[in-house]
Assembly symmetry: C2
Homo-oligomer: 358 residues x 2
């Protein structure tokens, strides 16, 4: 069978430091489970490219990536030289939209060996997955400024949702919830304040819920939902959210498990009409770049999600995923650890340790 074609885009900052460790573990797992991967490194989608060429990616980026099954992505952003909305809209957000990666899956899990910032929580108490709508909603450049530069200046910012977009996301989330032992789905809403789109989201969820009577649906306003991530994290199983709410929850959730340095994500086009993208939730972290101390685990775990998705049909994907997650668990428990987890190992040492367990 044809090897899986994987585009490798390290990006900016610590994306460049964690990527080699991600690749190391990917290769180790692929070999062990007989998965054949072909890796293609591309030297664009980073701010140096922007500074040299005035855009984040070459004009034919889509053609270059079109034969790929997946994109393995580091992190983008270097706000000192390129504003974030330029670098992100010119790369990551373009991929999510143009490759219709409409599900952003973000598992949140508390591991043994990682000091939890929440009192009295142990491994197993926090174990849920955020299912974030990833292509529409609050992230738009629609709207504008009126009376610019005067005292009367007014800004309109538009959010746009489609029934197609909301329902396919909800359906994915319900299906995921149904496949898990607890069968619970929480919907992030704000229908008491955001008066057009959010009551509509509530209705969409109720409509889709009719096809999933086995799943218990609960709606939470985003404010109290954020509070409950801290106060009652064991209550959650699958959490569905719009683009913005999912963004917030998928940084907050990992923070409650000790660090966002661990959190992986899968930007999926479930129909496989386009490549899906796998990346850590953390960004390029300019403040620690260059020290070689970035935690590579989010990158490595993202690789596990990628193998699972790519080889779902065969069973080998799931096996490779589970083996990587198990190796991560072991290293988190026994070390070595990077400084964000209280250790003094560097990025490479942690990557090598995880690869060794594979």
């Amino acid at each position: 069978t044809r090897p899986f074609q994987i585009a490798v885009l390290a990006g900016d900052g610590i994306g460049r430091e964690v990527m080699p460790e991600g690749l190391r573990c990917l290769r180790a797992a692929a070999e062990r489970f007989g998965l054949s991967l072909q890796l293609h490194e591309f030297d664009w989608a980073h701010c140096d490219h922007y500074l040299a060429h005035g855009q984040m990616m070459p004009a034919d980026w889509k053609a270059q990536l079109s034969g790929m099954d997946a994109i393995y992505f580091g992190a983008v952003g270097w706000p000192e030289t390129v504003p974030d909305h330029v670098s992100l809209w010119g790369s990551l957000l373009k991929f999510r939209r143009e490759f219709d990666q409409y599900v952003n899956l973000r598992p949140v899990r508390l591991f043994e060996g990682v000091p939890c910032p929440l009192t009295g929580r142990r491994a197993g108490d926090i174990d849920y997955i955020v299912v974030r709508e990833n292509t529409e909603g609050e992230y738009t450049a629609l709207g504008g400024v009126m009376f610019e530069g005067t005292e009367r200046e007014i800004v309109v910012q538009e959010s746009v949702y489609s029934r197609h977009g909301a329902e396919r996301l909800l359906r994915f989330a319900f299906e995921l919830a149904r496949s898990r032992p607890r069968r619970r789905l929480a919907l992030a809403t704000k229908s008491n304040g955001i008066a057009i789109s959010m009551p509509w989201w509530d209705q969409r969820a109720d409509a889709v819920a009719r096809d999933f009577p086995e799943v218990a649906l609960e709606k939470h306003h985003i404010d109290i939902l954020a509070a409950r991530f801290v106060l009652q994290p064991d209550r959650f199983d699958v959490v569905a959210a719009t683009n913005l709410f999912g963004d917030i929850l998928s940084d907050l959730g990992p923070a409650t498990t000790g660090t966002i340095g661990l959190a992986p994500s899968a930007n999926l086009n479930p129909e496989r009409s386009f490549p899906s993208l796998f990346e850590p939730v953390h960004g390029s972290a300019p403040d620690i770049y260059g020290k070689g101390i970035a935690n590579p685990i989010a990158m490595i775990w993202s690789g596990a999600l990628m193998l699972d998705f790519l080889a779902r049909g065969t069973g080998a994907g799931r096996a490779a995923h589970d083996a990587i997650v198990q190796a991560i668990e072991t290293v988190l428990r026994d070390g070595p650890r990077t400084p964000d987890l209280g250790g003094n190992a560097n990025t490479r040492e942690v990557g090598a340790a995880i690869a060794a367990h594979l």
Copy 2:
């Protein structure tokens, strides 16, 4: 001198249970510090009124409240019979807008005696104040649905910001930050994703910052800001935010201090052209209503903020505020406590204990 005119609106659910305790403490503090209050109870702005009359408030609500200096407000909402967006837009959100209460002040503080959900944090480690824009932004009923009921259905939701609105809020936040020992201001943004309004907010903050060279301004994207409320709460002093972001942060912050049952808020019209409104951050909590176990502290603390604001000129307002907060501190440390804090006292017992310390 003319007594302060205070409208009392208990609202729905536990708003009705905590209000008597709020009034008890208000009266005790006013007496002790020689503040003269005239209380006017109104039996509307609750869902029973809506069910009886088809609207949350009488047509002349504005006239009825126009002589008031402040509104002491319980909580609104009874989603079982009236959708939240109906009850809230028909009362609380109307007050905020029509009385131009453009600053929503929400102190977040960890008290001795309240079990903190964050490991190793003690009283004093969490002590910041969220300054939320309270009249515009994401909370609108602007936009609409196109192709309704078909597969092509599209929803547009508009957020609207004004330079006037953003700058006066920012100016208030900078002034507050300048008056505090740490002189730090954090701005909640999302300029890397929400591409029109959020870069504009960043610019507004930079513009206002020029008048406050003594204040250190830091911008945080809302996702990482939420994470930092959990991981580094001691880093924050004053936090300025749009309506929606302020809403989320002012539930999340209190959650990290153990309970949102304590969090007070002041919806201010700083120019005193209209009455300001003081209310707990928690809502009407239908799940515990009727048991008499709601924690009245947020209501009581909101009363302290009200006296401080009303009698700012005289010094007696600050003294009354500080005395109430001290009485709250004492009761939190020594009891009695409501069930949300692990005790078994009821609402009345806690209110009486705080009043006794006054």
